[in-house]
């Protein structure tokens, strides 16, 4: 049980100009499942490894339960980590793998056996205790990696893309088991993934990183509804939010002939802004097909059964835009149809710097 704090923590690899992690400020509360998410190269794994002690911290500090662990070696931090490739010791059995850290801590044999068996029970690994990793399936190995972490009852769990190597179905199943397990154990968990669906479904809060810089950290719903900038808006949500180029005419924003519906506050912000450089974001579920909207042609229909995503190519004086529109259930629309698209939901306006204007 512990709270974790990154205070302006940076990691700069020798010889490179840009920091891999740039002044990260993050406060993770006790018992929280915090997800670090971002594209490749965003620094999320590096940030995790800084917490683990596998990377140096060049600036700032990292605290676990108010103890400054910034430059302490991994052995002294009381953390457990699950690696993407599980890193199971091939020459040891499942039981020995799970008990290894306890053995290093000189826990007596009986005690060790008890803890290993308990962890195995929680993860349904009891029948496999005497097998070697090479005789296990991918899903079983993943659970052994989890078991190895649980047995130690650490202050913090660190997960580095633990589900990436599982097939899609198993991934979804394990996702919920993992979240459930964390809730039951109540141990603080820092979880790294590049999959934003995983992030949104598992995290109590999600921290979005890009190029080493923290973009936003919030509960999933807040991230979805109130993305701080263009990047977060486009990253969170699947399919991605439609981001459109707009023209500012007088104090209105237009896409072709369509007026962008603005709340009073947004309209005010637009009118007092000095630039005309704006982008507008609309989620697929906030677009629909009604007459009088932006005209375009359907290029792709993704029929998922419970919903459909229709990709429309619209043409107007401003240029060409590709929009994704969501329809409930099974759509009658087909590829090649001519349609008109209107905005029927909240709109996000981004300034020239990418920041979202207050709505």
């Amino acid at each position: 049980m512990a709270e974790v704090r990154y205070e302006a923590a940076s990691r700069i690899y020798p010889g490179s100009e840009e920091p891999a992690v740039n002044a990260l400020d993050l406060h993770i509360t006790d018992g929280e499942l915090l997800v670090l998410v971002g594209p490749s190269g965003s620094g999320k794994s590096t940030a995790l490894r800084m917490l683990a002690g596998l990377e140096y911290v060049d600036k700032g500090s990292i605290f676990i339960n108010d103890v400054d662990v910034t430059l302490k070696p991994p052995q002294e931090r009381d953390i457990a980590m699950v690696f993407q490739n599980y890193a199971l010791y091939p020459s040891m059995t499942v039981g020995e793998n799970m008990g290894f850290a306890l053995k290093q801590a000189k826990v007596p044999k009986e005690e060790r056996r008890k803890q290993v068996e308990e962890a195995a029970r929680i993860l349904d690994l009891t029948p496999y205790l005497d097998r070697k990793p090479k005789n296990l399936s991918g899903g079983q190995r993943q659970r052994v990696a989890m078991g190895r972490a649980i047995v130690r009852s650490p202050q913090v769990f660190l997960m580095d893309e633990p589900l990436s190597n599982l097939d899609a179905k198993l991934r979804v199943q394990t996702r919920t088991e993992l979240a459930d397990l964390q809730a039951r154990l109540g141990t603080t968990m820092v979880y790294v993934t590049h999959d934003q669906v995983e992030a949104m479904t598992m995290g109590h809060r999600v921290a979005v990183l890009k190029d080493g810089i923290l973009q936003q950290v919030d509960a999933p719903r807040t991230l979805y509804n109130e993305p701080k900038n263009r990047f977060v808006a486009g990253f969170i949500g699947s399919p991605a939010m439609n981001i459109l180029d707009v023209e500012r005419i007088d104090d209105k924003l237009k896409i072709g002939s369509l007026d962008v519906p603005l709340t009073p506050m947004l309209a005010h912000s637009v009118s007092v802004a000095s630039t005309s450089d704006f982008a507008v974001g609309v989620r697929p579920e906030h677009l629909s097909f009604t007459d009088g909207g932006l005209v375009g042609e359907v290029v792709v229909v993704e029929a998922l059964g419970s919903e459909s995503f229709i990709h429309v190519r619209t043409l107007h004086q401003g240029g060409e835009q590709l929009l994704v529109v969501r329809e409930d259930g099974q759509s009658a629309i087909q590829r090649g149809d001519q349609v008109a698209v209107t905005i029927t939901g909240p709109v996000h306006v981004f300034g020239a710097d990418g920041e979202r204007l207050e709505a």
Binding site: L54, Y89, Q104
Partner: protein
């Protein structure tokens, strides 16, 4: 042990069979000289020195002659012990030195690891015949001539570069995350080597040790130059069977057979492990 598993549809049975036969023939031909050597060991000198015979009256006379201790002559027993000691002790030291060195060069390597490897290998470019004089003088000064110690030291130095080279590439096969996991689990250097690395590289270790044993056991020049008398090894014992008078073909054959048996047995037993060890990552 082959990379081709099972039968494939349409595999050409007659060609396959023929190839198998060819392999057998080549194998037998390759082995033939050794077979002949063993055969000659069981002949008396008359038979051995006449036109090649496959059938003869076998005798153990040669074997008994060479193994009997004679005054003033290096005995089989002494030579065998000397060889065993020199080979086993030097191989042991080679491993003790090479394992940590391989760790340094493979797991989170020092920056100049390539240069270090090259240095190790380059020590083998120096012709032994060229340094024999300094070695002799040093040996004399340190009063180490005619001892097993000097051979142990030199054999270790001789095999160490090879062992470092091979072990490094085996160690490099160990995934970095395994080491990190071991660190997080609380292991320091020694623990990492013992619990994680060694079990993984064990076949590679065996392959390397076997090669060291082979090269050390068969080494002749240094043994002759530095240990002309009491601490001489098996290779020299074989050479000393050459007597000035009469025929000695059968005698040396018998001696050769005896001298070769230990290494041959080791090689036969360990060959599978050797191949597995080499396949594991002698190449990187």
């Amino acid at each position: 042990m082959s990379s081709k598993t099972g039968a494939v549809v349409g595999q050409n049975r007659p060609v396959s069979f023929l190839l198998g036969l060819v392999t057998w023939v080549i194998g037998l031909l390759f082995f033939f000289p050794i077979f002949w050597l063993v055969l000659n060991g069981f002949k008396d000198e008359l038979d051995a020195n006449s036109t090649p015979k496959l059938f003869f009256d076998p005798t153990l006379e040669q074997f008994t002659t060479v193994t009997e201790s004679q005054a003033g002559v290096l005995s089989f027993g002494t030579a065998f012990t000397n060889s065993m000691v020199a080979v086993l002790v030097s191989t042991f030291f080679v491993m003790i030195l090479a394992v940590p060195a391989a760790y340094s060069l493979a797991i989170r390597p020092v920056r100049k690891w390539r240069d270090v490897l090259f240095f190790f290998i380059s020590t083998k470019f120096l012709p032994i015949v060229g340094v024999i004089m300094p070695l002799y003088i040093l040996g004399q000064t340190l009063d180490l001539l005619n001892t097993r110690t000097i051979l142990v030291v030199l054999y270790t130095g001789m095999n160490l570069p090879l062992a470092v080279w091979m072990l490094r590439s085996f160690f490099a096969e160990v995934p970095k995350e395994l080491i990190e996991a071991a660190q997080i689990d609380g292991c320091k250097l020694f623990g990492q080597i013992r619990s994680v690395i060694l079990p993984i590289v064990a076949p590679g270790l065996a392959a390397t040790a076997l090669l060291c044993v082979i090269f050390a056991w068969n080494e002749f020049f240094l043994a002759v130059q530095l240990n002309p008398q009491s601490a001489s090894t098996i290779p020299q014992w074989v050479a000393s069977q050459e007597s000035g008078r009469g025929n000695f073909l059968a005698k040396i054959s018998a001696a050769s057979v005896l001298a070769t048996i230990p290494v041959v047995i080791a090689g036969w037993v360990a060959q599978k492990r050797m191949i597995r060890g080499l396949a594991m990552g002698a190449i990187k």
